[in-house]
Amino acid sequence: MRLIRNFVLVFSLFLLVTACNDNKTTLVVYTTHGKELVEEFVTDFEKKNPDVRVYSIDMGSQDALDRIRSEKANPQASVWWGAPAPLFMQAATESLLVAYQPTWSSAIDSAYRDEENFWYGTFLTPEVIAFNSEKLSKESAPQDWDDLLTPQWRDRIVIRSPLASGTMRAIFVSRITESLRRGGTVEEGFNWLQKLDENTHSYAADQTMLYIKLARGESEVTLWNMPDIMLQHNVNNYPFDYIMPKSGTVIVTDCIALVRGGQHQQLAQKFYEFVTSKDALIQQAHKYYRIPARHDIDMQSLPEWMREPIKAIPMDWKLFAEKSNEWMRYWDEQIRNRGK
């Protein structure tokens, strides 16, 4: 009897809990933008739409793509907010996204959006050389990409393992495309990466490990994106600073899209518009160091440091989407740790 009673108890508890969640519409958002930023906008959105509960799941960008791909037959998320454009391109080719033309579609450069409206850019994220500011100063840190290859930095660099990181992929692939753009070969690009591998002290399994290793001075230098570095510096007081590479840097377009087959498409569009509105972008710029991709925002309303243009190296994102998997696999099989 006790057995049956316990079972009934547990089961009713279960029903109770599931029932609790049922009186609100749920909107699921996969995002890579970090808890602080996302939670702020989710809360605001929920305040404006009291009958909606937004579940935002924060994860790595490759994770997000993988999840959407795995759930293709049974999509859970309706909005995918954040991750570099190539991942969105890949998702679009795999028919994981649904086209949506935002109200501000005319206010964005065609380089930062999909022709068929599958995805739009939200932020322009420059990749930078980041360093531990307790150990190095703006002057003593490496100033450009090639500086990283000098013997001076041997075993002083930590690299986030690039396979699962959109940011690192963009940086690595850009070294190869740069070589091609200057009339070189893919092999020369790999050579560059090989030399970097020789100077690399360790590969961090994830972003956190990277921050920890850098913050605690295990390694002094890393390659990462600027907003994250600044956010960690400000929110967690980590001794981080960055150098914008002299020869220019890759600028990754952080994008947003709607997931094909996701529930509550109307609501999803509403959320999409909400987090990419002018006000939202300005707020994100000030608080979270995010450079808006829209060009119709008044320069004066943006933080001062954002007003000067960043020297960008052009990147063929189509080529990136096509080749990055192959190149990364080659790197993983033939270069990683082979130089030691």
Binding site: F14, N74, T208, K213, G217
Partner: protein, 561 residues
């Protein structure tokens, strides 16, 4: 005249049977265990719509890192067995042969690694022994060095963690063998004039060998399946489980499937080895006088023994203490200091009062209860028929139940993804991937063997005449099961159920591949807090899990007595 086999079945049918339920058990096992694995095997040989072994050929390409990963896994496992074996067996010797001071306290400490959930344990090690961990930093500071004198990383870290986590198996198995050993055999050898080392080599060791070798195979299997340590600590070192995860992350499902099949096959091989040595180990069952530990006479030696014991227990408890310390640290406050310096209770209050933080706890509890309830029903039913009713198809059911014991969680998860990405008649057309139910299902599959083994052992100890006594007193089938059979096996079965519950609560390996927003479990919350550098919150989750596990393990041990 009918043949005797039929007659026997007939005479059994006079007892309680719940006959049709048997086929229900087989059906469930078929759907949840066998079908996904076979389906995985099938799909891994399909390339571009045609049947081909191309995936496997790439796997065996000598330059491919997958082979590196295979060797990596094997090598790590061998080393883990070696070190865990040395630690576990020598501790067992120490406990059984030497009359240590404060023995019962020490033996509780020696099993501490058990109560550390896999992911949490690894996280604790990162903070303690990692390059910027407490101990290397402290040494660097204490000796005014420019760099930490040593730290754990990559291969050495994985092996260190494995040795720490898995020596317990050697320890417990060897201790049990010591306790089964007949002390008279040693006295006999002494009286025949054998030296201490002869006795060790010729008398003691042969009696421990079956226990040690089954622990070795078990640890090898667990090391092959280990995911959290190489995932967080591995850095450049490749192992199969992490490669599978990476392949999946890259969207290369064919490769993930192929690697899963390879890992699964190796693990199954070891399962069969294990089952064999195990029957060997339990075969030496004659009970004798247990041999008493040797008292330490000299005061100096006693002090030394005590000192060693204290040091060892400090080392063993260090991950737990680290977690405890960190759980009070303010998020983001620990950078270049040796230990965190700003403390707060906020991490704990948020566990209970912050909805977003407490939700994973609710999720995990719910899923653990669901999965374990199903485990309980299926394992109890299968063990009942197999041990009590000489169920012939029971052998098949038993094999099906034990398979998940060998198959690493990563492989189970990949198989589930492959199968439940479409609807089936047995899911009423629903697609389970991306739904709440996929995780309880994975937990159910993974922990079925634990509950089954507990139930099987409990039923094997059951006096068969109890049931007959009840029946002859006029008890109906159901009354007899409820009032006599079940109460008699309950302590053992519940111990298994609690263990499974604990493992479900902290499950990480398949969760990382299967979770969705409706069922985000504690382990994923920990990983995410780590990602967001909320080390305090992550540690608080870890401490809470550890406490739950500790309480439940303690309860289970009490019930099993």
């Amino acid at each position: 005249m009918q043949n005797s086999e039929q007659k026997r079945a007939l005479s059994i049918s006079d007892k309680t049977n719940f006959y049709p339920l048997r086929w229900f058990v087989l059906l469930i096992l078929g759907i949840t265990v066998v079908y996904p694995l076979l389906h995985l095997l099938d799909r891994s040989t399909v390339v571009d719509g045609g049947r081909s072994l191309r995936n496997y050929l790439h796997f065996w390409n000598w330059n491919a890192p997958f082979l590196d990963a295979l060797w990596g896994s094997v090598w790590i496992s061998v080393a883990s067995v070696f070190f865990a074996g040395i630690i576990g067996v020598s501790l067992a010797f120490l406990f059984e042969r030497v009359d240590l001071p404060a023995k019962s306290f020490l033996s509780a400490v020696a099993t501490l690694p058990i109560v550390l959930p896999p992911l949490v344990g690894v996280v604790a090690f990162v903070f303690l022994w990692g390059e910027s961990g407490i101990i290397p930093r402290f040494l660097q500071f204490a000796f005014e060095l420019s760099a930490p004198p040593f730290y754990l990383e990559g291969l050495s870290a994985i092996i260190f963690i494995h040795a720490y986590s898995f020596y317990v198996y050697f320890f417990l198995f060897t201790r049990a063998a010591f306790q089964r050993m007949d002390g008279a055999t040693i006295e006999a050898a002494q009286s025949l004039g054998a030296s201490y080392f002869t006795i060790l080599a010729r008398v003691i060791f042969p009696q421990l060998r079956p226990a040690i070798s089954s622990a070795a195979i078990l640890v090898f299997m667990i090391s092959m399946a280990s995911f959290s340590a190489p995932f967080l600590f591995g850095g450049e070192y490749r192992v199969l489980t992490v490669e599978i995860y990476n392949s999946k992350l890259q969207g290369d499902m064919p490769m993930a499937m192929t690697q899963s099949v390879m890992l699964g096959v190796i693990s199954l091989l070891f399962l069969f080895l294990n089952l064999q040595t195990e029957s060997e180990a339990s075969g030496t069952g004659q009970k004798g006088v247990p041999l008493p530990p040797r008292p330490i006479q000299r005061v100096l030696y006693r002090r030394i023994a005590l000192f060693i014991a204290v040091v060892v227990s400090l080392i063993l408890a260090s991950p737990h203490l680290t977690l405890l310390l960190l759980s009070f640290a303010q998020n983001g406050s620990w950078t270049s200091q040796i230990i965190p310096e700003t403390f707060t209770l906020a991490n704990y209050t948020s566990l209970f009062f912050n909805h977003k933080v407490s939700e994973p706890i609710m999720n995990s509890s719910m899923m653990a209860v669901l999965a374990t309830t199903m485990n309980f029903i299926i394992a109890l039913a299968a063990a009942f028929w197999i041990t009590q009713r000489r169920w012939r198809a029971g052998r098949v059911a038993e094999v099906m139940i034990m398979i998940p014991w060998a198959i690493p969680g990563t492989v189970v998860a990949i198989a589930l993804i492959v199968v439940f990405n479409t609807g089936h008649w047995f899911t009423a057309g629903a697609i389970l991937v991306g739904s709440f139910w996929i995780l309880p299902l994975a937990y159910f599959i993974r922990h079925l063997p634990i509950v089954y083994r507990a139930a099987h052992a409990a039923f094997s100890r059951l006096d068969p005449f109890q049931e007959e006594a009840a029946l002859s007193l006029g008890g109906s089938a159901w009354l007899t099961f409820r009032k006599v059979i079940f109460p008699a096996v309950r302590p053992g079965v519940m111990a298994g159920v609690l263990l499974a519950m604990v493992m479900s609560l902290g499950e990480f390996v398949s969760s990382i591949l299967l979770y969705t927003f409706t069922n985000r479990p504690i382990s994923m919350a920990i990983l995410n807090e780590m990602r967001l550098l909320n080390l305090g919150t992550a540690a608080a989750y870890g401490v809470m899990l550890t406490i739950i596990i500790f309480v439940i393990t303690w309860l289970a041990n009490r019930w099993d007595e």
